[in-house]
């Protein structure tokens, strides 16, 4: 199970037949395992890793530190849910330390992101404060280096 996940996490386009060969399992075993992982919510989806900086698309990303007042019985969950349900929010984590939620927001301009924070995030009941940090450059994300990948410069034959 773990090995199939590791393989798919590295390359989701491998077929069940290929994974079967790589792991020494039968194709059916792999197919069933993957189906099980999908239905139990371990595998949530398959997607391309896109470096949008290499495209024409104009966008900005911000990391927002949000401080909250926890609510009776619900802790931080219900406020977090009100935040992460916005499609502009690309990631949301509950953190230890000096703030509570780390929220990644994407928008087409600085202004759009700033407006989203002031008009949508900051006004939610229970939100004490926000601090917005704009991302200048993405070096690595999802285990993939966006910059400075290493080329294979080995000699063509080595005995």
């Amino acid at each position: 199970m773990k090995e199939i996940l590791e393989i798919l996490e590295g390359n989701a386009r491998l077929t069940a037949a290929e994974i079967a060969v790589m792991t020494g399992k039968t194709e059916k075993e792999v197919r069933d395992a993957i189906a099980g992982l999908e239905s139990s919510g371990v595998i949530l989806g398959y997607r391309a890793m896109v470096n949008w900086d290499r495209t024409e698309r104009e966008f900005v990303t911000a990391l927002i530190e949000v401080r909250l007042t926890p609510q009776r019985d619900k802790g931080f969950d219900s406020i977090a849910e009100r935040i992460y349900k916005y499609p502009q929010v690309k990631a949301c984590h509950l953190m230890s330390g000096s703030y509570d939620l780390s929220v990644v927001v994407e928008g087409s301009s600085l202004k759009e992101v700033a407006m989203f924070v002031s008009e949508k995030l900051a006004v939610i009941d229970g939100v004490l404060s926000t601090a917005t940090h704009f991302v200048l450059k993405k070096y690595k994300d999802g285990d993939i280096m966006f910059e400075g990948t290493e080329k294979d410069d080995r000699e063509a034959i080595v005995l």
Partner: protein, 388 residues
């Protein structure tokens, strides 16, 4: 007057030039070659090791080290061998850090082999053994390993090669180029033959970390031969550190003190920053090594399945990162196969004959290459074979 070349010793002049020279020339004229001809990891050295190397430079560790290697590293090698293989060598006087395992092989040969001494070398195998023996004026005695024995040493075959002049035997498993391995019980049979004979055993265990589906056993775990065993290992294959040139050699202190002199005069010491990187490699990189091994294992199964589907006969290799398919069904010689495959389909594999005459009928392909490369190479190889 004598010609300049005539000053070169006979043993050196008579060394055969590399059989793969022409492939270098061919690929120089070609674009888009996919090479499965490289005997080194495709992984770059894990970052934490590189970072330790950089830090060593920053701290100014740029001088000669102790000839045998920095003491911390020797002690770390000692505890690594104990932890991994239950092998005991003292960092005090039984371990020398070498410039790659290849220096280890050379040290062993230079210390042990003199004119006329016979050294039994299983073939096909890594080219340096034979060359080193010849350089020392010794006589390499080829012990042909056979596909029907899964390219393992068969005890009777070994016995038949032993003469009064046999000074040493090389045991190179997991093996380059075949990927063959010897299990603990198979090694026991070899040990039974060697334990009562005055023969030095050079065990090249450079691929010890790359064993799949069985537990690697070091020959140094056999007490009955340990005094006459020289263990060669290093960082190149296990930790993807080929370019750092870092290896080590272990043995009985009374042999080591003499090898030490050769090492001292010729090399002084292994590169010092590399030794600090090696320290980090042994202390903190078991996970990285395991990760690389798991990846090689997946590719191993994939490429083995691939060559068999193409119609080539191939035994299952369980070590290193090579497969050694039998190509006799194509009607081509190893050299014809490799040259044809390169010219027509731009895929580079190495003829088995590069590893000894008995490699005829085989090719070596490495899976120390990305899965994408392996896929492309397999599909081109299939087209090549179908077009014959």
């Amino acid at each position: 007057m004598k010609s300049p070349e005539s000053f070169v010793r006979d043993e050196i002049r008579n060394l055969p030039p590399s059989g793969i020279r022409k492939y270098f020339d061919l690929i120089n004229e070609m674009e888009g070659v996919v090479s499965l001809g490289i005997g080194e990891p495709d992984f770059v050295t894990p970052w934490r090791i590189r970072e330790a190397g950089i830090y060593a430079l920053e701290k100014g560790h740029t001088h000669y080290s102790a000839n045998a290697g920095i003491r911390d590293l020797r002690d770390e090698i000692s505890s690594y061998l104990k932890r991994k293989y239950n092998v005991e060598y003292s960092g005090e006087d039984e371990i020398i850090v070498t410039v790659g395992a290849s220096e280890g092989i050379e040290l062993a040969m230079k210390a042990i082999i003199g004119p006329g001494d016979e050294v039994i070398i299983p073939e096909p195998s890594f080219v340096a053994y034979k060359g080193c023996v010849s350089v020392c004026g010794g006589v390499p005695v080829s012990l042909v390993l056979k596909e029907e024995n899964l390219f393992k040493i068969d005890p009777a075959g070994l016995k038949s090669k032993i003469t009064e002049r046999t000074k040493a035997v090389v045991i190179p498993f997991p093996n380059n180029p075949t990927g063959s391995v010897m299990t603990g019980s198979e090694l026991e049979e070899i040990v039974k033959i060697l334990r009562d004979r005055d023969i030095i055993i050079i065990s090249d265990e450079i691929y010890s970390e790359l064993a799949y589906g069985f537990e690697f056993r070091s020959l140094a775990t056999f007490p009955e031969i340990k005094d006459r065993l020289i263990l060669v290992n290093g960082f190149s294959k296990s930790h993807a550190m080929t370019g750092w040139r870092l290896g080590y050699i272990c043995g009985n202190a009374d042999i080591m003190k003499h090898m030490y002199k050769i090492h001292q005069y010729a090399l002084m010491c292994a590169p010092t920053p590399a030794q600090y990187a090696g320290l980090e490699a042994l202390r903190n990189c078991d996970d990285e090594v395991a990760g690389m091994r798991a990846e090689y294992d997946r590719r191993r199964r994939y490429i083995l399945n691939g060559v068999r589907e193409i119609g080539l006969k191939c035994f299952e290799p369980q070590g290193a990162f090579y497969i050694f398919p039998n190509i006799t069904s194509t009607g081509l010689t190893s050299d014809e196969f490799c040259e044809g495959l390169l010219r027509k389909e731009k895929v580079l594999v190495v003829p088995g004959t590069a590893f000894g005459e008995c490699g005829e009928g085989y090719i070596r392909a490495t899976y120390a290459s990305s899965m994408e490369n392996i896929k492309i190479a397999l599909s081109r190889m299939e087209r090549f074979i179908n077009g014959l």
